[in-house]
Subunit: 324 residues, 2 copies
């Protein structure tokens, strides 16, 4: 099987060759711009990897892999507007470089472009592939909406949170893997198992992200450590702390959550202290391991050579320990 | 063939039966809301009409007809954000009733829902139908971007304007008719001719709208008469006037275009006077007739019973004289 780097490099080269019309410039330039901001191209690489797992034709899997990457970047373009984010990967976001209307409309056409790319799968797989893609796309939108809803809700449960990250982050990994598997010639059952591998791995990965936000090495973690704490983000850690806290601790937690002006360092260390007191890190690691196990179990049951499965296991291991 | 009213009523009933999940409510309620605002359901009715023209199965044409209507309403939801419009059909727009983020995300999921509906065509027509739908969707986005670009550009040509209205308005009529024809079992050549009928009819219709904005009967015209003049909208009439005006008239035109504060009635009557002086109404009617002729010529060449074609001719006639 090809290495992850090889797959990523196939994607990078194919992204560079993506063609969009010159006019209207404000519609198409933002697409080339956001696609050119880089990133690890993990989702399309996973699609190729899944195809490779079943010895499929990688060349034929490139257009749907690009569809996944274009779709992902469409969601980033619109999410950045919704989040009022000035920067993306250190560069100006589309709506701040151009304007908001450009961000909306250019994103819209990107979604259509993603469908145009998906359509380039072999015709006998078109209906199945589209159906996976539609379901994935709906899921991602639902996840984003739940995420926004949670910002103003006070009674979010852990179950709801896990469902939100499943939709917002994990179904796209699952969808990419499933489409790749189908293109590679996997049986439906195996494609579903690979979907389950991706979905559970995605949830585990997001839980790890929640943990790293608090306990990550500031030099290795890509974002500001404590960012979730500062913004009162309802992560697994905060929700679990609320669940386990007695009245005294809950009062202290609420004190920090309700402060509108505070010293960031002080708030991060106060809430981290509460987490430590309640053993939240272990709880999160247990939950993360639970989803990782589900992912590995699904993988074990797939009918493909052991060496290929080992390759995906190594990939997943690499993902789940990335920046501890 | 079924009457337009019968087709519209099929659509209205089918729209009422469209099902969306309950949760997340802020994602799906706006879809039901905007779809429930009504409208003439002209685009999906045209799709059914095209299917009927070739004696196709109308039942099978309902899902793609709904796809066209959902797509159209998705563009309205996002256009209303971009245009900062508080009202749509006399009711609050989605972004003003909820908020802007709801309008963006709910619109996004509507586009995916439109694809889900399109997918319900018979599998042997899936690739062709999707390809027409994609091309249509891209065209509509391009048209909207050109329209926004023109607001700040000073050198828009009539050719560019005609291309903009073709993309923004006419390709969706053409696309709806073409998909309906394909579902009805039309030969590809006939489906293309019906596309051409729809596209040219759409341009003629928009030119008529430009004329009615100035010369329409205020009691019959749905919008404020003179609205285009008040907002300096670069319609065919204004662009033609700029083309034909001598220096004196151009100076007078510019005077009114550059005024930031003015009496609306006075501005409308001053610019209408200029139009009259230059014979702009006749020019616009000639251009409109040119596109109507193209539409009818395309229709004439279609291989289907004369009575069916007469039905479409009557429909087009009705459309083009609606509110004179």
């Amino acid at each position: 099987m090809k290495t992850l780097q090889e797959l990523q490099s196939i994607i990078t080269k194919s992204v560079e060759k993506l063609y969009f019309p010159n006019e209207p410039a404000q519609l198409y330039e933002p697409i080339t711009y956001i696609m050119g901001l880089g990133g690890k191209r993990m989702r399309p690489a996973l699609l190729l990897m899944a195809c490779d797992l079943f010895n499929g034709d990688l060349e034929a899997a490139i257009p749907p892999a690009l569809a996944i990457e274009v779709f992902h970047n469409f969601t980033l373009m619109h999410d950045d507007i919704m989040d009022n984010a000035p920067l993306r990967r250190g560069k100006a976001t589309v709506h701040s470089k151009w304007n908001q209307n450009v961000g909306i409309l250019s994103g819209d056409v990107m979604l259509v472009e993603a469908y145009k790319l998906i359509m380039r799968v072999p015709e006998n797989l078109l209906a199945t592939t589209l159906s996976v893609f539609n379901q994935t796309a709906v899921g991602v939108c639902e996840g984003q909406q739940f995420d926004m809803d949670f910002e103003t809700r006070t009674n979010v449960t852990i179950e709801e949170y896990l469902n939100m990250i499943r939709l917002k982050t994990a179904v796209l990994l699952g969808g990419a893997l499933k489409i790749g598997a189908l293109l590679g010639g996997a049986k439906n059952g195996d494609a579903d198992k690979l979907y389950s591998f991706g979905e559970n791995l995605g949830i585990a990965f997001q839980l790890q992200d929640d943990i790293l936000d608090v306990y990550g090495d500031p030099d290795k973690f890509g974002k500001q450590v404590g960012g979730d704490i500062i913004s009162n983000k309802k992560t697994f850690l905060l929700l679990k702390a609320t669940e386990l806290a007695d009245m005294t601790i809950q009062k202290e937690l609420n004190y920090w959550l309700q402060l509108s002006e505070f010293d960031s360092v002080e708030k991060v260390s106060a809430i981290t202290r509460i987490y430590n007191q309640l053993g939240i890190r272990t709880q999160a690691e247990i939950k993360m391991q639970e989803f990782a196990d589900k992912a590995f179990n699904a993988l074990d049951k797939i009918d493909t050579p052991e060496a290929n499965k080992q390759y995906l296991r190594n990939f997943a291991d690499g993902l789940l320990v990335r920046e501890h």
